[in-house]
Symmetry: C2
Subunit: 398 residues, 2 copies
């Protein structure tokens, strides 16, 4: 289908949602609610379908998109959200087992894109984590013992912000109808929002069963690249495709950094001594230091190791940092274990390539692993130790 952009970074899907809201288009947003078995994408994956049936984003590798277009038409016509379930799991006894198209049971929420979704994209764009809460199954006919009727209908929505613990309705009021003091809901919403994961939370609310789809939108991590050499372009390009929000920092004026790095979300020129003032270095800041200038790199690393940034990647051999360390010691500057644990030098995973793109690929692979808290081994190895994994406290949803 021409005009569709199935495989795009997540940030691009959210950006598209933002644009279409601004332009007041009657698009339909499809989000995976639940998955059982072997599916390509996981809960929270999104696709936006316009009036012509063109899509941005994908929720499968192409198995359901045709049918979803039909459902989207019905949602657009009715103006009401629908949840559809696709059972792509074959009968176990079927000799052709798992032969037809995709596999797994996939539950998808389709909703008319309207202003009630704006808080989600605005939070994402402003670097704020948010969970979008949608009631899937408000049990209005529960046979309680004289208990209050649950005021939450199927389709009701609220937002949860982990930074201040607030529940807010789409029109900006406090979501007082919601079970805001339910620990099961708040803990899940917090965790899913911060990790950018999604799932269904089943609650008991005033004696009624309530099924809530919690769609966590974690604001993209920030990548700050220090340097303006030829090697910065591929890092910027690959990091942006992998949903980092990229800032390129130059230490020399006279270069049009903005034109040089079109994939960067932001560019700025400052001096190595002013890094802490010019940038908001937080626990979301991933930094790659590649100015190829020893003094610039050293001053930048010194500032970064003294910040909450969880990742400080430094280009060059290990000996180069040892040389920096000697200078730090001469100046009486020391770094504790925690600070040094954030330093990655030589930068990147050991993938063996030597071209600019191969070096960039290994750097961005390391950024993904660290930001997702993974040990970057082959997945086939990890699968063999699935119990060890759970015992080590890894999350269970992926």
């Amino acid at each position: 289908m021409t005009g569709s952009k199935w495989s795009v970074p997540e940030t691009e899907v959210v950006q598209r949602v933002h644009e279409r809201l601004d332009a007041d288009h009657a698009d339909v947003l499809a989000t995976i609610v639940d998955v059982e078995g072997n599916a390509y994408r996981r809960p929270g994956a999104k696709m936006l379908l316009d009036e012509g049936g063109e899509g941005v984003g994908s929720i499968t590798a192409g198995c359901l998109e045709d049918d979803l277009r039909t459902v989207a038409e019905s949602v657009r016509a009715s103006g009401r959200p629908e949840v559809v379930t696709y059972d792509l799991m074959d009968d176990e006894d079927d000799v052709w087992g798992l032969g037809v198209g995709c596999n797994g049971i996939i539950e998808v929420l389709l909703e008319p894109l309207d202003e009630t979704y704006r808080p989600a994209v605005e939070a994402f764009t402003n670097g704020r984590d948010v969970a979008v809460l949608t009631v899937l199954d408000g049990d209005e006919s529960a046979e309680g013992f004289g208990k209050m009727r649950v005021p939450l209908e199927t389709g009701a929505r609220a937002y949860y912000y982990p930074d201040d613990g607030s529940f807010v309705t789409p029109d900006g009021h406090s979501a007082s109808d919601w079970p805001t003091s339910n620990a099961r809901l708040t803990e899940n919403a917090q965790s899913l929002a911060e990790r950018g994961r999604a799932g269904v939370v089943e609650l008991d609310h005033e004696g009624h069963r309530l099924s809530v789809f919690v769609d966590g939108l974690a604001a993209p991590p920030n990548l700050v690249v220090f340097g303006t050499g030829h090697d910065v372009g591929p890092v910027t390009e690959l990091a942006a495709k992998n949903d980092f929000r990229v800032t390129v920092v130059g230490f020399r004026g006279g270069v049009d950094i903005e034109a040089q790095f079109p994939d960067a979300d932001e560019t700025l020129t400052t001096s190595p001594g002013s890094v802490a003032d010019a940038l908001d270095l937080t626990e979301r800041t991933y930094a790659v230091v590649m100015t190829h200038n020893f003094i610039d790199d050293r001053l930048t690393v010194e500032t970064l190791l003294d910040s909450p940034a969880p990742y400080v990647g430094l280009m060059g051999p290990h000996e180069r940092f040892e040389e920096m360390r000697e200078r730090f010691e001469e100046e009486g500057t020391t770094f504790d274990e925690r600070a040094l644990s954030t330093l990655y030098t030589p930068i990147g995973l050991d993938l063996g390539g030597g071209s600019p793109y191969q070096i960039a690929h290994s750097i961005v692979a390391e950024l993904l692993a660290v930001s997702n808290d993974r040990h970057p081994d082959h997945l086939r190895t990890r699968e063999g130790h699935i119990h060890e994994r759970v015992a080590a406290g890894a999350s269970g949803d992926d």
Copy 2:
């Protein structure tokens, strides 16, 4: 500098050389011969400079390119190759140590691009490994004891093909002047050509010292992607940027695969039972199986595990392959340890991302690690075990 393309895949540099040869342009080819200390690129890295000084490819991150342009002018004017040495290493006692620009000593060969280079790009394009041999320092004035004068002048060139062990001159004759029976030369040329690495080999040739730059051009590995879903695009795109020669194979007619995957070098449509006939599966074939159809995947995996392909990546959870294995056993098909060791499922490195680009990034990272024979850990970890590495037989040049 507008018009220059510094950071491009290696294959694009070679392709550019090919085009410029065909168009008979007076370009200058710069190749890193040797590196000491901390440099961004390694020996063999190339840059092609045209008459206007615009470049394709990079040999540093931007430190030497201005000066190289000046040297290129002189090489173009004289029509003779030159080797220039840049000492970017600072004095150890300098309080500004390593502060100025790049570091390391870099030796660069600049030569007028002419027909004598054509065999190199043709071998590369045709999937044949080759080593380009260039005499750096023919010792014509050696004080031998009545020995023959060495007939190899500085700048003399020959090609070595590891597949048949032949030494050939640029005009296609057997390179009888060359020390073709010197084991030191042939073994190094073989190894460097096959690994795509470069280095200087010092020889004793009939009593004379001979310094030969051996520039190995390994033909790019072939990646065959089975599948035409939305998820194939990012894999194709990222693999091509990392110098794989990509073929996309579809099993259903009626789809314009070629238009759908513009980054693929080749596309073809066949049936799952005809994969062995339709493709030349060799020890250079890396395969990614992602049709999302169980039967298609199973038949393809069966063919691939029975081929010399060193990497068979299969999309889906481990259980899906176990299901395939049961079918294989029902049919009496078994695979030995070696065959199963080439199977990577779930596919990819454990980087934790879930978007189409993040999944593709983890697949291509695994392809790089396997094709370069690396264990994909953080480089900072590897550096700490450098002795263990050498003891384990790893190469010393990277």
